[in-house]
């Protein structure tokens, strides 16, 4: 059976190479049958990578240890759920996942219905096939998941225990989908450059694909953070690790692009910037993969392979030069159609938004690459601590958050300073009062955290006020009831109101991030049997260790009764799991969760046969708002994205006659 997988990959490579040539010649010679055959090639590659992927799933499920990949990442006792997730546990499998997803996306693009965009589709597919070709070359000649061993071992080496978590089943798939999907808006952009044609459908398609990619990247980051929180056992969810940063950077530039493309769509402005931004976003996804594969920077998430890393770097350079060449060659079509008419307008606030996102991305990039850059130029690898990232990015994120509150108060094209002040003062005043209440009621005196809360309250209030004013305006106009007016308002322009829902999700996330970082209580204590650990209002009693056998795992745990202000909360059960096939035990965090805070308990170690044990006990305030906000954000994105009425309205603004200079 592995031979079927190998054959599929080899055939997929040959057909991809053929389709690239067929598209190139077909477009140059306007040879329709050749173009149709190339399109058939896209379908065939989708089919072949699907066959290869199904074969790998089959080999993992039947534990065919004659295949090196199956041997390296599974064993007989691994639950079926994790046998499936072992598909992307190693380099070769995750490259196959990438190639498979990309091929499926290409098939979706190839089936775009005939219409105004039909002429662009071959160019889009050509760009996607160039990407596919690179991945299939790697899969066939560098990291083939169907390589066989010379013998068939009785059992496999097993899956890294850290990867045996439900989060690790979903996180990589969503992350890869995010990474891979950004190739599609990039390809549409390059196609528009090559054909020098941009129409309204192009914006609709570009926006849809960008949002899909952004949605998956958001999910990937969110699930990754959740996995780190419950599996790594250090009490946090984001450590500014190079691989985490690698997935954050395209998310940041992707977010900037989703905003700035609206200015191009409505006013024909920022064309060069948008082309650069989507290219950078796509290149950052390749760069992120380079960081993960090459082992160039130390990370808990990385697979180290120098050859693979260097090949990714080469491909990155090639795609960078290609996109740069296309932009320079077609610079005339990137001329601005309109000028900024007012500094107090929605588009000007989007410009500031883009500058802030660019600033944060640069700071993250610099902090991530500094160890490598300093090593190259000074021979010494400098260490960049998480404090650097926190100190540099926190003010920028705060400014971004504030802008999210101010931006919706502006009208497109021409706002009014007086109207802005009228709309601003009440939410601002209420937010300050909210901040003051937090200060007085909680007794927390961290100034920048209070500033963060004031800004978060302000954004929440201005956003909610937008909904209320929108409903009010609609009711006055139509006489509809409250619920009908609300539904008609949001459903007839789901882009705008779904976007505001995303903003509310971000506010919740910001409150969660500030609370869990600034007000975290952390205690590490060694206690004897019968002793109690007091952390804040929580009291945990240590009653000794117990042991149980789960398959080939030995689980050592402490069942600890917990009280909160004297009230019984039940027990927590922090665990250490020992595997017969893995040297390091894994940590299972015990959690008592509420919207207010998490009690986070880790069994760090023990001595004298469990007479004494060391626990790390954290109180993480508001951390669940981070996850809740993430789900609100995802719902808002889906609401804005869902096809149908209200998801594709794209107003087209024209230059106001007589206006030559921006006014305040």
């Amino acid at each position: 059976m592995p031979d079927v997988g190998k054959l599929s990959l080899l055939l997929a490579l040959a057909i991809t190479a053929y389709s690239v040539v067929a598209y190139f010649l077909g477009l140059r010679l306007n040879y329709k049958s050749l173009l149709s055959s190339a399109r058939g090639g896209v379908l065939a590659v989708g089919f072949l990578t699907t066959v290869a992927s199904l074969v790998l799933f089959y080999l993992l499920l039947v534990s065919d240890f004659s295949v090196q990949y199956v041997y390296s990442y599974t064993n007989r006792n691994l639950p079926v759920f994790y046998k499936i997730s072992a598909f992307w546990a190693g380099n070769a499998g995750s490259l196959l996942l990438w190639g498979w997803l990309l091929a499926i996306l290409a098939v979706i693009v190839a089936n775009v219905k005939k219409g105004p965009l039909h002429n662009l589709v071959p160019y889009v597919l050509l760009i996607l096939l160039v990407n596919e070709l690179f991945f299939l070359l790697l899969l066939n000649f560098v990291a083939n998941p169907f390589e066989k061993l010379n013998f068939t071992p009785d059992d496999g080496a097993g899956l890294n225990p850290l990867l045996q978590n439900p989060g690790m089943v979903i996180h990589p798939v969503t992350m890869y989908l995010g990474y891979v999907s950004f190739a599609v808006p990039f390809a549409w952009s390059m196609a528009a450059l090559i054909t020098r044609k941009i129409n309204r459908e192009w914006f609709v398609v570009l926006r849809r694909w960008s949002l899909i990619a952004w949605l998956f990247l958001t999910l990937g980051n969110l699930y990754g953070a959740q996995w780190a929180y419950v599996e790594l056992g250090w009490g946090g969810y984001w450590a500014w690790d190079p691989v985490e940063n690698a997935s954050l950077m395209p998310w940041l530039t992707g977010t900037a692009f989703i905003h700035s493309i609206m200015i191009q769509e409505r006013k024909g402005m920022l064309k060069t910037w948008n082309m650069a931004l989507i290219s950078i976003t796509y290149l950052l996804t390749i760069f992120g993969t380079y960081l993960t594969r090459s082992g160039v920077l130390a990370s808990v998430h990385a697979f180290g392979d120098n050859l693979l890393g260097n090949l990714f770097l080469g491909f990155l350079a090639f795609m960078f030069l290609l996109s740069l060449y296309l932009m320079v060659k077609n610079r005339e079509m990137l001329q601005e159609e309109m000028e900024l008419e007012s500094y107090l307008s929605r588009e000007s606030s989007f410009l500031v938004n883009n500058l802030l996102f660019a600033g944060i991305t640069f700071a993250v990039f610099w902090g991530t690459m500094l160890p490598k850059i300093s090593q190259v130029f000074r021979g010494v690898s400098m260490t960049v601590s998480p404090e650097f990232f926190n100190q540099v990015t926190a003010p920028l994120f705060l400014a971004m958050l504030a802008l999210m509150g101010i931006c919706p108060l502006f009208a497109w094209q021409k706002g009014s300073g007086q109207k802005l002040v009228q709309n601003l003062w009440l939410p601002f005043l209420l937010a300050v009062v909210g901040g003051a209440l937090v200060y007085l009621l909680t007794g927390h005196r961290v100034l920048y955290a209070l500033a963060g809360y004031v800004v978060a309250f302000f954004v929440a209030l201005t956003t909610l006020r937008e909904y209320l004013k929108g409903i009010g305006a609609r009711r006055r106009n139509t006489g509809e009831g409250l619920v009908t007016a609300f539904w008609n308002l949001v459903s007839k322009n789901r882009r705008r109101w779904g976007g505001y829902l995303v903003h509310l999700g971000v506010v919740l996330m910001a409150v969660g991030i500030i609370g869990s970082n600034v007000y975290q209580v952390e205690v590490t204590k060694t206690v004897a049997r019968g002793e109690t650990i007091q952390v804040g209002d929580y009291a945990l009693t240590y009653n000794g260790l117990q042991e149980k056998q789960e398959g080939d795992q030995t689980v050592v745990y402490a069942e600890m009764p917990v009280t909160y202000k004297g009230k019984d909360l039940g027990t927590v059960k922090p665990e250490k799991i020992f595997y017969t096939y893995w040297e390091q035990p894994s940590t299972e965090v015990a959690l008592k969760s509420s919207l207010k805070e998490d009690l986070y308990v880790v069994l760090s170690g023990w001595e004298a046969g469990g007479e004494k044990a060391t626990f790390k006990v954290d109180i993480n305030p508001l951390v669940n708002l981070l996850w809740l906000g993430g789900y609100v954000l995802i719902f808002g994105t889906l609401f804005a994205l869902w096809p149908g009425e209200g998801s594709h309205i794209s107003p087209r603004y024209v230059q106001n006659l007589g206006s030559t200079k921006p006014s305040a």
Binding site: M1, D3, V4, L7, S8, L11, A12, I15, Y18, S19, K32, S33, L34, S36, S37, R39, G40, G41, L43, A44, F47, L48, V51, K114, G115, P116, H118, N119, N199, R200, R266, L409, F410, A411, W412, Q413, K414, G415, S416, Q418, K419, L420, Q422, N423, E466, K469, G470, A473, R476, N477, N493, I649, S650, P651, R652, Y653, V654, N656, L657
Partner: protein, 126 residues
């Protein structure tokens, strides 16, 4: 390689090669690939109307002053009428347009006039 793998391999390879070769042997029918003039004009009109609706929404939500709204509205109405004029000229040139397309165009023009009349009415009220 066992027998099942050989058979599966042959089926997989044959299917993939068929997908590539078939369009060379049996040309696919080509549909309309470019937007017609009326479609581009419709898109332009739709964009202008959407901008007018968005401006009106912003005005009703108190984000834009009455003077600025009136000035912008005037400019957009002029542009929309100009678009309509262009469409009329195009229509005159393309007398052989299919009857259905004509009906759609006329309906769209009526819709534009209705919406502009509504906007004027609301502006007068305010």
């Amino acid at each position: 390689m066992d027998g099942v793998s050989v058979i599966l391999g042959i089926i997989v390879a044959a299917t993939a090669i068929y997908l590539v070769i078939r369009p060379l042997l049996v040309p696919e029918p080509q549909g309309e690939e470019n937007p017609g003039e009326w479609e581009e004009a419709w898109q332009e009109k739709e964009g202008l109307l959407a901008a007018l609706a968005e401006m009106e929404q912003d005005y009703l939500m108190g984000k834009i002053s009455a003077e600025d709204f009136a000035a912008l509205q005037e400019s957009y109405q002029a542009r929309a009428l100009e678009t309509r004029g262009k469409k009329g000229a195009k229509k005159a040139k393309t007398k052989a347009a299919p009857p259905l397309e004509d009906r759609v165009r006329e309906e769209l023009e009526r819709e534009l006039e209705r919406e502009l009349a509504e906007i004027r009415k609301k502006a007068r009220k305010s």
